[in-house]
Symmetry: C2
Subunit: 403 residues, 2 copies
């Protein structure tokens, strides 16, 4: 009799976004006349850049002729894209990353989960609290989380990110083996400074830990002093894997492409993790679609860069408006300056889900309750800047009206 | 100190296709004047069908406008494609599969490995011998293979597929929990009958095992009596997961799309595996690219069906020529009738690698030595029908000349 992976049975049933969808659908069914504005889920709304669309159509034409047809590609991605990533994402920062350290993926989410394959299942994992739920769930599935006690996993090290520490985690008492960090952060919108990341890099190197650095929102950083990559920090090449995405930057949420950097100088247990990841990818992955890699490459053309920058600016204008209006209403606000997420405190004594319901029922705005991201998210709400500009302004008018 | 996945250290270093590439490159460097023909690796050479290319370009245009833009899609795939798969791949066979049992993937290889996530690491795995190396390697990485003794893994159940049993495995003495079957088979080209599959389905149901049925080559079956899906067999919905691909059928090796069926009636350890796989995919995957799913959908349009059938016929004409010429030369041949692979015995007393070298050096044809697929592959060579028609004919002329 086959045995299933019992760790799945330990997962709590309710998924945050499913519960939001359930409450939203129930309200909409009872109030068909109300026009809802959704600033909850982090999906984008702006179309792909014209340069990206053109590149994709040209790549489709390549596939139509035997002499330009592409079959199986390299597991790690095509050199044309790996080279463009180094040239455009790392060289300008002075960060030392070479093309053979870049692995093209079909999105950051897959790599966030799959990277766990190269590590033992009995490592201790640390996450920020609040946190993007995927980091926790993939480790629970792999047997690294212990038991779910109704609010927390017994083996996960939760690192509170709250107003008192500026939403930047402090070094934990229990030393973790695998440390998930994400800056600019989802959900809080906080951005870490170079000095703050340096503390983490030194800590990981001191203890032989590995940092999984999620830099999916790096394009939204406007402050030139803030690091866009962990490889801007001395020592990061010896302890950090960086996971990146075109989803938010270039509107690829439905197109699917990202990349992961595993430096060759990152060695643990006598093994070069770059080699282990290459072995994992060549065995369990057959490369990202040629057409999609050509689309990603076009993000770095002259037109592509300008068009993508315009889209980022569009969202950051939304972020600025959300931030300004919430602050003007007297709420405490984090994010929205170097991040497309805005994290704000609910009115005194009102819980996350209660305020979510009020915003839904009275303002007809769909948000994300902070408690859904972990215990320290209680008392907060997350808004995203990825909506349409007019809708975003209208949502803020409605929110201010009910405060 | 983080602990790595020690199972990776147990993997033998040499990968079959890497060794072939090494020997081929060495020969080419020493003989720059020789024109090599490659019938070794299973990559396709015909371009995408025009209907597929058109659909992809139209989908790219959808992504260019905010009103038709697609962001995050369903983890399981779009209904338009899941519905088309049921209507075109299962309904005509009388196989009962519903759309919510179909999970669109970015290729069969990923799912062959990832499906292991939902099972415990201490299950016993059975594979055919010879075998597509990925089935073995992904289980070795997950800790299900035991130790590598230089030729075999100590915990894997190898089921010999040799001339004596018509290249169809017999039921093993040790009852396995997870059984990998692939028909039409890679590498032998053997196709299983309904009666043969029924034996396996009954065996799996009797013992509570699960069959992972790789049907990647189903489109190459010409005999109307042979099953194209395991769900043509009574009882398969209670024991089998089927993994399929557009790679060979529609030339998607570089485009990347496939699907996996997990029936809702497949229950093990009290859990519905369909629900477990959905949980896995929603946590560790963000859906297949919208553009690529539109391309796959076009395989089922009237033009798409005709164009794809033409490509399959092109390859099967190659297969027929290879089969006929090798038999005319007095070699024992399997496959090539309902499969794009042709598996033939080397001349008496000549080993796989020795004959591979002779074919390379004397005929200048690159093949795959059977021994690379497992112990029972010794004494065989695999050829593929995915080459250009002229080159294939020329390769056979050269091979016959040296026999």
């Amino acid at each position: 009799m086959i045995k299933i992976n019992e760790n799945y049975s330990r997962l709590p049933g309710d998924y945050l976004f499913a519960e939001i969808a359930r409450r939203t659908a129930a309200f909409a069914a009872q109030n068909p006349d109300k026009s809802l504005i959704k600033l909850g889920i982090g999906d984008v709304t702006r179309p792909l850049a014209p340069a990206v669309v053109e590149a994709m159509k040209k790549a489709a034409d390549d596939m139509a002729r035997p002499e330009t047809f592409y079959g199986y590609g390299p597991y790690e991605g095509y050199d044309f894209l790996r080279g463009a990533i180094v040239e455009n994402e790392y060289a300008p920062l002075g960060a030392s990353v070479s093309a053979d350290e870049v692995f093209v993926s079909e999105g950051a989410k897959s790599d966030c989960g799959n990277i766990g394959d190269i590590f033992s299942s009995d490592n201790i994992v640390a996450v920020c609290d609040p946190v993007y739920p995927v980091y926790v769930d993939v480790n629970a599935m792999a047997g690294r989380a212990g038991e779910w006690d109704g609010g927390r996993w017994t083996k996960i090290v939760y690192m509170p990110c709250v107003a008192a520490n500026g939403f930047i985690p402090e070094l934990p008492e229990t030393v973790p083996d695998l440390i998930y960090l994400c800056f600019p952060n989802n959900p809080t919108g906080a951005a870490a400074t170079k000095a703050q990341l340096k503390t983490w890099v030194d800590y990981a190197n001191r203890h032989g830990s590995v940092i999984l650095y999620d830099a999916a929102y790096r394009a939204f950083i406007s402050d030139p002093e803030l690091p866009r990559s962990i490889y801007e920090i001395d020592g990061a090449r010896e302890c950090a894997i960086e996971i990146c995405s075109y989803s938010k930057t270039a509107g690829f949420t439905g197109t699917r492409c990202g990349w992961t950097v595993v430096p060759k100088s990152l060695v643990r247990g006598g093994e070069c993790l770059n080699g282990m990841w290459l072995r994992r990818q060549s065995t369990k992955y057959n490369g990202t679609s040629y057409i999609i890699q050509r689309a990603a490459q076009a993000v770095y053309s002259e037109e592509g860069k300008r068009q993508v920058a315009d889209t980022v600016a569009y969202y950051m204008e939304n972020a600025g408006i959300i931030r300004k209006e919430l602050m003007a209403a007297g709420l405490s606000v984090c994010g929205g300056e170097n991040s497309p997420y805005i994290w704000f405190g609910t009115p005194e004594g009102v819980g996350s889900w209660a305020f979510f319901d009020r915003l839904l029922h009275e303002a007809n705005v769909v948000t994300t309750p902070g408690a859904g991201f972990g215990p320290s998210g209680e008392g907060y709400i997350r808004l995203t800047a990825f909506g349409n500009a007019e809708n975003t302004k209208e949502a803020l008018r409605r929110i201010k009206n009910i405060l």
